[in-house]
């Protein structure tokens, strides 16, 4: 029963959604179902908050390793919650917009949350550099091709790339590095991407059919 009910619902909803693609009177069924998902998601926010408090609360209470991080997490959670719920420092009072300029919520969002997020995002630049270093070592033929392609694209997008090969006559313009960079992006790169996209599309169809037909039930815990 625990597994039959979800499988039956999946089959009915999945089949209905497939048919709605071909039958215009039912084409909004997908949107209607996504509303149900949104409604469930709203309740899940409480679930998420509750889980966060339970997990970190236990860590603090039992003083487990690194419980200090948990304390900061919970303190930040309650501070932001209070600032938003009670509109602390909000110039317009309790009835004003929660994101009103000058409110504690807005101040914390602008001066704490956003800079921290931006800092994490900025780390990406360093990680790209370290990952590139590993990827571009010409260990084998594949890595060498990658290195050459990356070199062409990087050089093709700089003024140096333009000036270095501007002497090549127009009849051989493809050999000019900026044009070569464009060719790499629009021909071999795009062809590869499309091949992966076709594979993904077929994979999505196959996976969806497995779920609708109830063949794939690992997530329900059914094992042979």
């Amino acid at each position: 029963m625990r597994r039959t009910v979800p499988l039956t619902i999946t089959f009915i909803v999945g089949t209905g959604l497939i048919l709605s693609v071909f039958f215009p009177p039912f084409e909004t069924v997908g949107e209607d179902f996504s509303l149900f998902f949104d409604i469930i998601a709203v309740f899940a926010f409480f679930l998420g908050g509750g889980n966060l408090l339970r997990v970190h609360g236990t860590r603090i209470q039992k003083k487990r390793r690194d419980w200090g991080y948990s304390f900061i997490t919970v303190a930040g959670f309650f501070l932001m919650l209070a600032a938003g719920l009670f509109k602390l420092w909000n110039p317009g009072g309790i009835t004003a917009d929660v994101t009103a300029p000058g409110s504690l919520f807005q101040l914390m969002y602008n001066w704490v949350f956003n800079p921290l997020g931006a800092t994490m995002y900025a780390l990406l630049a360093f990680y790209v550099a370290s990952a590139s270093y590993r990827a571009f070592r010409a260990k084998n033929s594949d890595a060498t091709i990658l290195l050459v392609a990356a070199f062409i694209i990087l050089l093709g997008r700089t003024p140096l790339g333009f000036y270095a090969t501007s002497w090549i006559p127009d009849s051989f313009s493809l050999l000019q590095i900026p044009n070569l960079a464009i060719w790499v992006m629009t021909s071999p790169n795009l062809a590869g991407q499309r091949a992966i996209m076709i594979g993904i599309a077929l994979g999505v169809v196959s996976m969806s059919l497995r779920l609708i037909l109830g063949v794939e039930r690992t997530h329900l815990g059914v094992e042979e």
Partner: protein, 409 residues
């Protein structure tokens, strides 16, 4: 006195001549303006019909642009579409579009309470107004009508998709039956999936946990659903080997499903007591805050293996590089094309695109799943064949083959 009178008279004459000159300039400007906004010639061949393959409430209009649109007097700056319930009725504005426009789909709402409600099976009359830079100067077309909108029951524009779905479904069912009958279906190796067992074994030997990241997708994303199936397999092995498992979640709904998946996997492995609710937990729905938390976990817990399966965005490289620095074995899989190169670079094994969806079937080796996986391979072979045929026919100027695959909205 005479001098004074002379000066006044001179001023009057001068002033008069200036005034006269100004008057002449004004008249000339008026004449020029009038010449610039001559009435344009109207559009021609206005035609309206019901929009095909929809649920009604929509009409498709087309016309031949005014001869003064981009040519002739060059004074048409745009068009307005008007509609009325009778040729003599009050016309209401339905749309505005710039010069050069020669078609429009007049879509109305199907809800009666909407201000944009457009009833089906009702006669409508249309006209198109050619506009100039002067709002007072325009030319209306002849009125076209009556025309009615109505809904269709079947979208004929999607027949190619239906054929594909039926073909794929049939192939899948046939191959599943073959697999059930004991046929040995060859499935190519997926090193990334084969590495999962090895990675779990390594974690057990090292006495360190396994970190499983479901990505930033919601529970409704097919990549996340595929990830659940892999998580189920991984959790079962982890339970059998009595290794630790950490699953930090980005989405509360995802977390709830993941908790159930892991819990059931532990029960299936015969170790329901080993399951702890702290294994699968919610972190945050902020992308980079989530990354910071997971990176912190990686650096503090030093998991032996990191598995990233699902939907990833800019955080993919930050996660994978941190994992690499921490010395973990890393296995990843995503259907986000832009993130695949990052994972390939930073992880030991990467499931590229469709391999993510094949992983569960490959891990399980169940006939039912292998049959569907084999059908996927046949579909891919068919796509390759069609691409080759398309390449050849297009190069020989045979456009008809391409038309077979035309799909309308």
């Amino acid at each position: 006195m005479k001098l004074k009178t002379l000066i006044v008279l001179s001023c009057m004459l001068l002033g008069g001549s200036v005034f006269s000159a100004a008057q002449e300039v004004t008249d000339a400007t008026a004449l020029t303006d009038t010449a610039a906004v001559a009435a344009p010639r109207p559009i021609a061949d206005l035609f309206a019909r019901d929009s095909e393959n929809d649920h009604g409430h929509s009409l498709t209009l087309s016309w031949t642009i005014s001869p003064d649109d981009g040519a002739g007097q060059m004074n048409v700056i745009g068009y307005e579409l008007y509609r009325a319930l009778s040729p003599d009725g009050e016309f209401e504005l339905r749309g505005k579009f710039p010069f050069g426009a020669a078609s429009y789909i007049d879509v109305g709402a199907k809800e009666k309470e909407s201000s944009q409600y457009s009833p089906d099976h009702t006669d409508f009359y249309y006209k198109v107004r050619a506009l100039t830079s002067d709002p007072e100067v325009f030319t209306d077309s002849e009125i076209f009508g009556p025309v009615q909108s109505y809904g269709q029951w079947f979208n004929t524009g999607r027949i190619p998709v239906l054929v594909f779905v039926i073909g794929f479904l049939t192939t899948t069912v046939i191959l599943i039956r073959r697999a059930r009958g004991g046929a040995d279906l060859f499935v190519r190796r997926l090193p990334g999936i084969e590495a999962v067992d090895e990675a779990i074994g390594r974690a057990t030997e090292m006495g360190k946990p396994i970190l499983y990241v479901l990505g930033l997708g919601t529970a409704a994303d097919i990549a996340t659903i595929a990830s659940y199936t892999i998580l189920g397999r991984v959790a079962k092995k982890v339970a059998e080997y009595q290794t630790g498992l950490i699953v930090p979640c980005y989405d509360p709904v995802t977390m709830t499903v993941a908790q159930e998946t892991v819990k059931t996997a532990y029960a299936d492995a015969g170790r329901p007591d080993a399951y702890s609710e702290d294994m699968v937990y919610f972190v945050t729905q902020s992308q980079f805050a989530y990354v910071a938390a997971v990176n912190g976990t990686m650096l503090r817990e030093r998991p032996a293996t990191n598995i990233y399966m699902g939907k990833f965005f800019a955080e993919s490289l930050i996660l994978a590089e941190t994992g690499a620095f921490a010395g973990s074995i890393q296995i990843s899989g995503t259907d986000e094309i832009a993130q695949i190169p990052f994972f390939v670079v930073a992880c030991d094994y990467t499931l590229i695109g469709e391999e993510l969806y094949a992983a569960s079937a490959y891990l399980g080796r169940e006939p039912l799943l292998l049959g569907s996986l084999k059908a996927q391979d046949y579909a891919k072979a068919a796509v390759i064949l069609l691409a080759i045929i398309g390449f050849l026919t297009m190069n020989f100027g045979l456009e008809g083959f391409k038309e077979l695959f035309y799909i309308s909205n």
